[in-house]
Amino acid sequence: MDMQPQERRGVYLQQYKEPALSREIRQFSNASAADAFIDLPVGRPLEETAPEDIIEVAREAKIVDERDGRRLYKKLLRAAFKEIKTVVVDALDDEPYVSSQLGPLLALRTEALEGLRAAMRATGAEKNYIVVYKNLSDVDVRVPTVIEGVPVERVGGKYPAESQIGRELGLHKPYVTLGVCSLIFLSRALKKGLVQQSTFVTVAGNCVANPTNLEVGLGMNLNQVLERCGLADNPTRVIIGGPMTGISVIDTEKTLISPTTRAVLAFKEDERDRHYHCIGCGKCINVCPQRLDPMLLYRFLSNRRLSQLPPLHAEKCVNCGTCSYICPSKLPLSTTISRYSETLRKEDEDHETDPA
């Protein structure tokens, strides 16, 4: 099936991944935390382990995929059920500052590849890829094109790239995307029976003295993580997640690290609300990767003209934040539209019958 190439939309963002990417990944957990183990037979070679056992190990080890927060075993189960033939390992990290997938991939390659092989066996897939972001111009480490026989594909260039994986690789058959950190934990669970008790987090930002990737124990609060890396300045904004889609934190003592906290960023800047009005420049329309019309959507939503919204297909919004990024009037386009699309999706879920 010949898909005509469509023009890639999005913005080029300056990636500040160094020096966090080149530094060694250290462990950081509570001194009193002990390793937990699963009580299933582990340590056997991969060829002797049945696919169902791999999935059982993933379930007992409570491994969570850091891309979307879903349990790894559920994803493997669903992939096996649907007979998916391609596994894609996501080490994309298309947001600036964040390198909590690329760093572990390069530092712990063997574990990642073992996890990948286990996932292939569990789902019965035949092909596999590792996807890495193309726009890594200011990165000091070299990203190889093949890691132990698995091709490393460079995807994207413009942000957002997550939704472009299928299109860029030209995948026609169904595929499953797994985060590389979850595969690392899968290999650890299969080898030593370890439950996932940590996650890989990038700590960066212009207030952090030593930006680095850390393997942080789950449940530690942000204060500890930031103190571990040292704060050069008092930040005015602390974000968990990437700078484009992250959530801004109010209380760093009560916010805890979870498996989907990809990054902790601390910024100091003085941004005042300018109360500009939309000038209709149309930059948001030219940049939306889902080809929506953020200008009209925002106007109609602000004026509560809900009857005019259906033709604009607001449910396609992936909440990438590119429209808000580029808007010269600094309007909250992405927040308004994605909030509305979430209510639409919830309505759809209510109306759908559960397929169980």
Binding site: P174, R237, T252, I279, G280, S324
Partner: protein, 330 residues
């Protein structure tokens, strides 16, 4: 640490409303410089008066409407700087003041104010001035003539090349002179090279999309090529038509107002093309020698339709192009 909760995204592009409007103002200042060289300091007084009147009118209208007045909003200053550039240097201060007031109070705010106005305020103000005082608006002084700062009744005025073309005559000015702006004309519209340079700068800064003025000039050139007004041969006709009057200036600064022009690429191209055709039609069949302000106003009224048309075509193409089976992602 005192943390401020904010919505994503937490990084923003460095362009803002202020930089975009600031770019426009920056590119309008060279014209005033040239105006000072050609016509003296009266041009600067016109600029200051018009900018002040526009800003005050904007403030008063915002207060009357109960809206919050944004001090950083420079759009009224852009309007204020544009209006005197389309008028002769000997225009009386009263005309400029009334044109500015009309532009802000009648064209901009009743339709919604900043960001929602249907028509370009500068084009509206200048069109109002043309309709009310046609003799005053098209009486241009000679270059390098001394123009007093106050009353200008003693200054000799001539007509421009645009008037000659309208009457069907052959313009007597040398083409080189017209290109460099050494013929009588509106203050800002004379020097074509400067207009083109400003256009390139604005396009580089992404304040103005390049496709629209290019299509506009191409369409106007094509119309001038196909239907020359004077008996001077087709290429000369193109050159004179494009370089006389405010055609290029209007196409770059008036037509490219982000609020009133369409947003999609195809729509912008079509808009520029039809605007170019319309300007030449107005020049030939209209009542005045200058057609660009009226053409801009007419196009502003239908600019939304271009967006809708292109969106409809794109949606249809998308539906036909979509693959029958979609790759499903877990």
């Amino acid at each position: 640490m005192k943390l401020i909760p904010r919505d994503a995204p937490h990084i923003r592009h460095s362009d803002s409303n202020k930089t975009m409007m600031g770019d426009m103002i920056l590119t309008l200042l060279p014209f005033y410089l040239i105006g000072v060289c050609f016509y003296g300091l009266r041009v600067v007084l016109l600029m200051l008066l018009s900018a002040a009147v526009c800003w005050l009118a904007d403030l008063v209208c915002c207060l009357v409407r109960g809206r919050r007045f944004n001090v950083r909003d420079l759009s009224s200053l852009v309007t204020g700087l544009l209006i005197p550039l389309l008028m002769p240097a000997t225009i009386s201060y009263g005309v400029v003041v009334l044109a500015c007031i009309f532009a802000i109070v009648v064209v901009k705010h009743p339709f919604g104010g900043i960001g929602e106005n249907l028509f370009n305020p500068a084009a509206g103000g200048v069109a109002f001035a043309i309709a009310c005082w046609p003799e005053k608006m098209f009486a241009y002084p000679n270059i390098f003539a001394t123009i007093p700062l106050g009353g200008v009744s003693g200054v000799a005025t001539v007509s421009s090349t645009a008037y000659t073309l309208k009457m069907g005559g052959v313009p007597g000015a040398d083409l080189g002179d017209v290109l460099l702006g050494l013929t009588p004309g509106p203050v800002g519209a004379a020097s074509i090279l400067v207009v083109l340079a400003c256009l390139l700068y604005l396009a580089y800064r992404r304040t103005v999309p390049l496709i629209q003025p290019v299509c506009f000039l191409a369409a106007a050139a094509l119309m001038a090529f196909l239907f020359p007004r004077a008996d001077i041969g087709r290429t000369y006709s193109v050159a004179y038509e494009l370089m006389s009057g405010s055609l290029v200036f209007g196409g770059v600064f008036l037509l490219s107002d982000p609020v009133t022009s369409p947003k999609r690429f195809g729509a912008r191209a079509l808009y520029g093309l039809t605007a170019g055709v319309l300007v030449m039609v107005f020049r030939r069949f209209g009542g005045f020698e200058q057609g660009v302000t009226f053409a801009v106003l007419l196009m502003n009224a239908v600019s939304e339709e271009y967006d809708r048309l292109v969106q409809y075509l794109a949606a249809r193409a998308e539906r036909e192009r979509r693959a029958p089976h979609e790759t499903c992602e877990e």
